[in-house]
């Protein structure tokens, strides 16, 4: 498909032979998720410091254990929960999955988060960010080794219901691709401005029956209704 060159959709196949589209998340979404997590971790540490600070050296020990846990285990634990996302990722609508689209396994969650140390190099996650920029599937080193993807949990559904119109047959038989294009056009009627919709419909003018009359949009909408099976 021509769209695949522009699109970052990651196609994975189920054992049933169905291609499942996953939508990997890019640098900005993941950076924001990281920042939210970082703020959260700092907030927890500050809160803990004020409580544990009163407990002298015992508190210092717990504080260091907490620091370690937040640094290394926080993402592992959260990614193994059913939501498969740290609070930051969740806030950004992201989720961690295996390349197969399945929930992330404990080993994969551990590997991808330990390799953060490698992605961090030389400073400030520079290597990880570079990987996100050059790879179409937005995998950093940890994702490559673990075989994981960070994907958008929900994909936006752009197509709405078709505009209502009296069905009318097209002027000539249409190929499957032509039919798909017309139905897709009609599905976007609610998102496009009427002028743009008209402009696009005018391109398909020849397939509508001229005698019916009305604007190009109105005529093509009737063809679309006919194509989805209304008679």
């Amino acid at each position: 498909m021509g769209a695949s060159a522009l699109d970052t959709v990651f196609i994975t196949e189920t054992p049933e032979g169905i291609a499942l589209p996953l939508r990997p998340a890019g640098m900005m979404a993941r950076s924001f998720a990281y920042l939210i997590d970082a703020l959260l971790r700092v907030a927890i540490l500050i809160a803990a410091a004020s409580v544990l600070g009163a407990m002298s050296r015992f508190g210092t020990g717990l504080f260091m254990i907490l620091t370690f846990g937040l640094e290394w285990l926080y993402p592992v634990v959260f990614e193994l929960m059913p939501t498969a996302a740290t609070p930051g990722k969740r806030a950004m609508g992201l989720r961690v999955v295996m390349d197969s689209g399945l929930p992330v396994t404990p080993a994969a969650a551990l590997v991808r988060n330990l390799l953060r140390a490698a992605d961090f190099l030389p400073v400030g996650y520079a290597l990880g960010l570079l990987m996100l920029l050059v790879r179409p599937d937005f995998k950093r080193l940890g994702d490559l080794a673990a075989g994981t993807l960070v994907v958008h949990a929900t994909s936006a559904h752009l197509d709405g219901p078709l505009p209502s119109a009296e069905p009318a047959p097209p002027a000539r038989p249409l190929s499957t691709r032509e039919q798909a294009a017309i139905v897709a056009w009609a599905g976007r009627a609610t998102r496009l401005t009427p002028e743009r919709l008209d402009e696009l419909a005018a391109l398909a003018g020849p397939v509508t029956v001229q005698a019916v009359g009305g604007s190009p949009t109105a005529r093509l909408a009737r063809v679309a209704q006919w194509l989805v099976g209304r008679r």
Binding site: L115, A118, A145, V183
Partner: protein, 342 residues
């Protein structure tokens, strides 16, 4: 068949699948949020055979809808249904205590033996600098200043010297806890870096192994030369059994990653790396457990100066023997093993 007809025919099945998925998902979510509050009635649990059947039907219908270029709204619905069902149906569920026991009784020691070449290389890269620098600093104690700055050396000397009973019994439980936290934070992080560095063709692991070998060796040589040998060795012998081994194993896991990239064999580099990471993860689980044991020993046992060095050497020797026997013998097929191994 037109899209409308298609939808009219199959929509009841999709609704049923949707409801069944929602039911299972709600159950899982409630379990994760609070397993005690599972009082809300969920209705009857969907039959798993029926669920699988609906899922397969939805897969077929999705393939049809795609090949016939049906409206995107229709395929989108089928896509999201099949995706949710796929997640639930192929979810691995064999986690838990039994899996954990299997990990430490079989998988981890077996993985160590399967990767004996990596373990050997990691041991040499860690051990040789340790011994060589140890001897070098013993012969010329001034040599340590190339590794550590003077203030650090003074600190160490203060810790292990007889003058100040710094790690002696003056240390109370509070300090023990503080050091426990410090050892967890510091040592496990070192091991994680030894592992993560492996992704750079193994170079990072080699570097961290050698670096830590040099640091530890020069310190040991220096303290021995200064006559604090007994304090120092009695301090490190017990937890060293776990800590040094764990560092070496973490490095070996990192080398496994590096090897996959350097010599992927018949796989693509990426597939080799993914396989290596799966194998290495087993080693890393073991490393984490060993370092937790090491940190506890280091904080609460090694530092206790009221225990006579002879006792510490004895216990330390037993620990070394246990660790080596565990890694070498645990989880072997019964017939291949002598009576000695558990």
């Amino acid at each position: 068949m037109t899209p409308l007809q298609f939808e009219a025919d199959y929509a009841p099945m999709w609704d049923e699948l949707d409801a069944a998925l929602a039911h299972v998902e709600a159950g899982r979510k409630m379990w994760s949020v609070s397993w005690r509050k599972r009082a809300a009635p969920l209705g009857e649990a969907p039959d798993s055979a029926r669920l699988a059947k609906l899922y397969r039907a939805a897969c077929e219908q999705l393939a049809l809808a795609r090949s016939r270029a049906y409206p995107a709204r229709l395929t989108n619905r089928l896509e999201s249904l099949t995706q949710r069902a796929h997640q639930l149906i192929y979810r691995r569920s064999d986690y838990g205590a039994a899996r954990l026991a299997r990990l430490f009784l079989l998988d981890f020691p077996q993985a160590v033996r399967d990767h004996w070449r990596h373990v050997l290389v990691a041991s040499l890269v860690f051990g040789l600098p340790l011994v060589l620098l140890g001897i070098a600093t013993y012969v010329d104690p001034g040599f340590i200043l190339t590794m550590h700055d003077a203030r650090t050396v003074q600190g160490y000397e203060h810790m292990y010297g007889p003058a100040a009973e710094a790690i002696g019994r003056e240390r109370n439980a509070q300090t023990d806890w503080m050091m426990f936290g410090f050892y967890i934070m510091n040592n496990i992080s070192i091991a994680f870096k030894c592992f993560a560095g492996g992704i750079f063709l193994g170079v990072g692991s080699l570097f961290f192994l050698a670096y830590n070998g040099i640091a530890a060796g020069s310190l040991a040589g220096y303290l021995t030369a200064r006559g604090h040998g007994e304090t120092f060795y009695s301090f490190v012998v017990t937890h060293g059994a776990f800590e040094l081994t764990a560092i070496v194993l973490a490095g070996a896991a990192g080398l496994r990653l590096g090897q996959a990239l350097l010599a992927p064999g018949r796989r693509t580099r990426r597939a080799a790396l993914e396989l290596a990471a799966r194998e290495a993860a087993v080693l890393v689980y073991g490393v984490i457990a060993m370092l937790l044991i090491a940190a506890a020993l280091e904080a609460f046992w090694s530092s206790a100066r009221w225990i006579a060095p002879a006792v510490k050497f004895g216990v330390g020797g037993v620990c070394w023997a246990l660790v080596i026997a565990y890694l070498a013998g645990q989880g072997r097929a019964r017939s291949a093993v002598g009576r000695g191994a558990p």
